[in-house]
C-alpha cells in the first residue's frame, strides 16, 4: 500500500512482454462512475423501502402532531402542509429531494430535525465501532494466521471454537454478563455511560466538543484524567464488539491464508530458504490483505449495526440508543432517519472496500 509510486508492482503474471500496468488512478476514476451509478440505485431503493414503511405506518402523522382535538379544517391544512394530499409518486419525489438535502423529517418526540439529532448521537457510535474494529483486526488477523499455519492443531481448534462462540452469543446478553463480571463483581471498568456522573457535568462545561468523540475531545483539551475515565467506560463495550468482529475476521483470515499457503509461489519462497515468518507475513500476507479489506469493511458496517443492542445495555448515547428509544415511543421519523443513516454507512463502506480492493489488487482492475 505504501509503495503506490512503484512502477512495476512485484506481482505474478507480469511476464508478458507487452504488459503495461494501467495507471491506477485513471482506471479507478473510470470504474468509480459505474460504482456511483449502482450506488445511486441502491440509495434510491433504500429510500423507497423507508418511504413505503413510513406510509403504511398505522400512526397518523397529522394526528401525532395536532393531537386528537384538532378540527377538520386544521387537519386538512396540516395535510396540505405536510404534502400528504399529493399523489404518492410526487410525495416520493419530494421525499428523495429532501433526503438528498439532508432533511430526514422532524422528530415527533422532540420536534427537532432528525438529521441534527443524529449528528449529535452518531459520533458516539462511530467511536465505539471504530475501536471495536481496531480490536477485532489486532486480535483476529494474528489468530487467523496462527490457525492457518497449523491447521488441525489445538490452536486451530481453539480459534475456531472462539469464533463460533462469538457467532452464537446474543450481543446484549454478552454485554450484561460483561457488566456483571467486570463492573459488578471485579469493578475493573466504569459502568454504563460514557463517563462517570461527576465527569459528565465537567465534560459539558469544560471540554469543547470538536468531534463528538469523547476520547479525541478530551485528549485535544488535554484533560487526561477525563480521558482515562472515558477509556474505563468504553473499554468493555468496545471489547465486546471487538470480540464479535474478531470472530468474523479470524475465520476469514484463516481461510484466505490457507488458500494462499497452497500456492506455488509460497513453495518457491520456502525452497529458496526464506524464513517462514517472512513467507507468511510478507509474501502471503500481501495477497491475503486484498480480500481482507472487504471483510474488515463488512465487519465495520456490522459493528455499526451491532452497536444498536450494545448501546442499549451500556447506556451509550449513540445511534442505536437513539433508534431504540424512538422505537419505544413510536417516533417513526427518527427510527427511519436512523435506518437511512445506517444504510448509507453500509452502502458507503461497501463502496470504499470495492475501491480499495481495486487500488490494492491490479487483477481486479482489468
Amino acid at each position: 500500500m505504501g509503495r503506490r509510486s512503484d512502477p512495476a508492482p512485484r506481482l505474478p503474471m507480469t511476464d508478458t512482454a507487452d504488459f503495461t500496468p494501467p495507471s491506477r488512478l485513471g482506471v479507478i476514476f473510470r470504474q468509480s462512475a459505474g460504482v456511483l451509478i449502482s450506488l445511486a440505485f441502491t440509495f434510491l431503493g433504500l429510500l423507497l423501502v423507508t418511504f413505503i414503511i413510513a406510509r403504511v405506518v398505522p400512526i397518523d402523522p397529522v394526528l401525532s402532531i395536532l393531537g386528537d382535538r384538532a378540527t377538520e379544517a386544521q387537519i386538512a391544512a396540516e395535510r396540505t402542509r405536510l404534502g400528504l394530499d399529493k399523489p404518492m409518486v410526487e410525495q416520493f419525489g419530494i421525499y428523495i429531494w429532501q433526503a438528498i438535502h439532508g432533511d430526514l423529517g422532524v422528530s415527533i418526540r422532540t420536534k427537532q430535525p432528525v438529521i441534527s439529532e443524529i449528528a449529535q448521537y452518531f459520533p458516539a457510535t462511530l467511536e465505539l465501532a471504530t475501536l471495536g474494529t481496531i480490536f477485532g483486526v489486532l486480535l483476529g488477523v494474528p489468530a487467523g494466521v496462527l490457525a492457518a499455519t497449523k491447521p488441525g492443531s489445538w490452536a486451530d481448534q481453539i480459534v475456531r471454537l472462539i469464533g463460533l462462540m462469538g457467532y452464537s452469543m446474543p450481543v446484549f446478553w454478552l454485554g450484561l454478563m460483561g457488566l456483571l463480571l467486570f463492573y459488578g463483581i471485579l469493578d475493573w471498568v466504569g459502568g454504563p455511560g460514557r463517563l462517570d456522573a461527576a465527569y459528565d457535568m465537567m465534560f459539558q462545561f469544560e471540554v469543547t466538543p470538536h468531534t463528538g468523540m469523547i476520547l479525541i475531545d478530551t485528549a485535544l483539551a488535554g484533560r487526561w484524567d477525563m480521558f482515562a475515565n472515558a477509556i474505563s467506560h468504553i473499554i468493555l463495550p468496545a471489547s465486546l464488539l471487538g470480540y464479535l468482529s474478531m470472530a468474523y475476521i479470524s475465520r476469514m483470515t484463516r481461510s484466505f491464508m490457507m488458500n494462499e499457503l497452497g500456492q506455488e509461489y509460497i513453495t518457491t519462497a520456502r525452497v529458496k530458504g526464506m524464513p517462514e515468518r517472512r513467507v507468511i507475513w510478507v509474501h502471503a500476507m500481501k495477497n491475503v490483505m486484498v480480500p481482507l479489506i472487504t471483510v474488515v469493511a463488512l465487519s465495520y458496517a456490522y459493528l455499526l449495526e451491532g452497536a444498536v443492542l450494545t448501546e442499549t445495555i451500556f447506556g451509550w448515547p449513540g445511534l442505536g440508543s437513539y433508534i431504540t428509544d424512538a422505537l419505544l415511543v413510536g417516533d417513526m421519523p427518527s427510527v427511519l432517519g436512523g435506518t437511512i443513516v445506517v444504510g448509507v454507512c453500509y452502502i458507503g463502506l461497501n463502496m470504499v472496500s470495492d475501491l480499495l480492493y481495486k487500488l490494492v489488487d491490479p487483477r481486479a482492475r482489468a
Partner: protein, 301 residues
C-alpha cells in the same frame, strides 16, 4: 443391519433411490467423524425433543405467578435454575420457551429460503432484464442492515411473534436468492437442461423440477448457519420488547426482565442467555460440519 449397510454401500446401485440413499449415507459417515458437528446435531435434536415434550416435562407452570417464591437462587429445592421476579420457575420457562424459539426458526426456515430460491432461480434462468431487476431488488435488501430493518418493520407492523417472524423473513431471503442464482447460472446451460427443454418442458417445470433440486445442498447449509443468526435476531427483538409479548416465556424477553436484577439476582438474566447461546452454537456447529460435508468445493479433499 449389516445387509442394510451393504445395500447402502453397494458400489453399483440398482435403483435411483439406492444411489441417492447411498450418497446420503456416505455424507453421514463423513459428518459423523466431525465431533463438533455431532455435538451441534445433539443440541439441535435436544431442542426439538424438549420443545415437543415441553408441556409434559416442565416441573412447574411456566406462566402462573407465585410471589412467595420470587427470586430464589439456583439449586434451591424444586427450582434447579432458580425463579424469576414473579416466582416462576426459570427452567420451566426455558423449556416452554424452546417451543417459541423452534416455532420462529421453523417459520423463517420455510419462508425465507423458498422465496429466495424462487427469486434466484427465476433470475438466473431467464437472465436479461428479469435478472437485472430481481437482483437489483435483492441488492437493495442486502444493503439494509438486517437488525435495523427488522426493527423498523416490527415498529410499523406492531410487536408480536407473527410480525417478528415476518420481519426476520423479509430481511433473510436475499442471501438465498444470491446463492440460488449462482447455482442456477452454473447449470442452466448444461446438457440435461437442454434435453428437458427439447422434450418440451415449460420454464416453470424446468426451474421447479430440474434447477431447484440442484440448489438444495447449498441452501441447506445456509439455512443451518442462518438459523443461529435468526435465533439471535429474534432474541434481540424480544429483548427490546418487540417480539413475543409477556407473559409468554420468550428467551430474549426473559433476559430483558432479568436486567433489573442483574447485580443482585444474576441468574434471572443469565440462564435464558445460556439457552440462546447453546442452541445458537448448536446450529453453528452443525452448519459448519454440514458445509464441510456437502459443499462440492470441499469434496476434492
Amino acid at each position: 443391519m449389516t445387509t442394510l449397510v451393504d445395500w447402502l454401500r453397494d458400489p453399483s446401485p440398482t435403483s435411483r433411490r439406492q444411489a441417492r440413499l447411498g450418497q446420503s449415507y456416505l455424507a453421514w459417515l463423513r459428518l459423523k467423524r466431525n465431533h463438533l458437528a455431532m455435538i451441534g446435531l445433539a443440541i439441535v435434536a435436544l431442542l426439538v425433543i424438549v420443545a415437543a415434550l415441553a408441556p409434559w416435562i416442565t416441573p412447574h407452570d411456566p406462566i402462573t405467578q407465585n410471589l412467595r417464591e420470587r427470586l430464589q437462587p439456583p439449586l434451591t429445592a424444586g427450582h434447579i435454575l432458580g425463579t424469576d421476579d414473579f416466582g416462576r420457575d426459570i427452567l420451566s420457562r426455558l423449556i416452554m420457551g424452546s417451543r417459541i424459539t423452534l416455532f420462529i426458526i421453523a417459520l423463517v426456515a420455510v419462508t425465507a429460503p423458498v422465496f429466495g430460491l424462487l427469486v434466484g432461480t427465476v433470475a438466473g434462468y431467464f437472465g436479461g432484464w428479469t435478472d437485472e431487476i430481481l437482483m437489483r431488488i435483492t441488492d437493495i435488501f442486502l444493503a439494509f442492515p438486517k437488525l435495523i430493518l427488522a426493527l423498523a418493520l416490527v415498529a410499523v407492523l406492531g410487536p408480536g411473534m407473527e410480525n417478528a417472524v415476518l420481519a426476520i423473513a423479509i430481511t433473510s431471503w436475499p442471501p438465498y436468492a444470491r446463492v440460488a442464482r449462482a447455482e442456477t447460472l452454473t447449470v442452466r446451460n448444461s446438457d440435461y437442461i437442454a434435453a428437458v427443454r427439447l422434450q418440451g418442458a415449460s420454464a416453470a417445470r424446468i426451474i421447479w423440477g430440474h434447477i431447484m433440486p440442484m440448489c438444495i445442498p447449498s441452501v441447506i447449509i445456509r439455512v443451518t448457519l442462518d438459523m443461529a443468526g435468526v435465533i439471535l435476531i429474534a432474541a434481540g427483538l424480544g429483548f427490546l420488547g418487540l417480539g413475543v409479548q409477556p407473559p409468554m416465556p420468550e428467551w430474549g424477553a426473559m433476559i430483558s426482565a432479568g436486567r433489573k436484577y442483574l447485580f443482585e439476582q444474576w441468574w434471572v438474566a443469565t440462564m435464558p442467555g445460556m439457552a440462546i447461546f447453546i442452541v445458537s452454537l448448536g446450529f453453528n456447529l452443525l452448519g459448519d460440519g454440514l458445509r464441510d460435508v456437502l459443499d462440492p468445493r470441499n469434496s476434492g479433499k
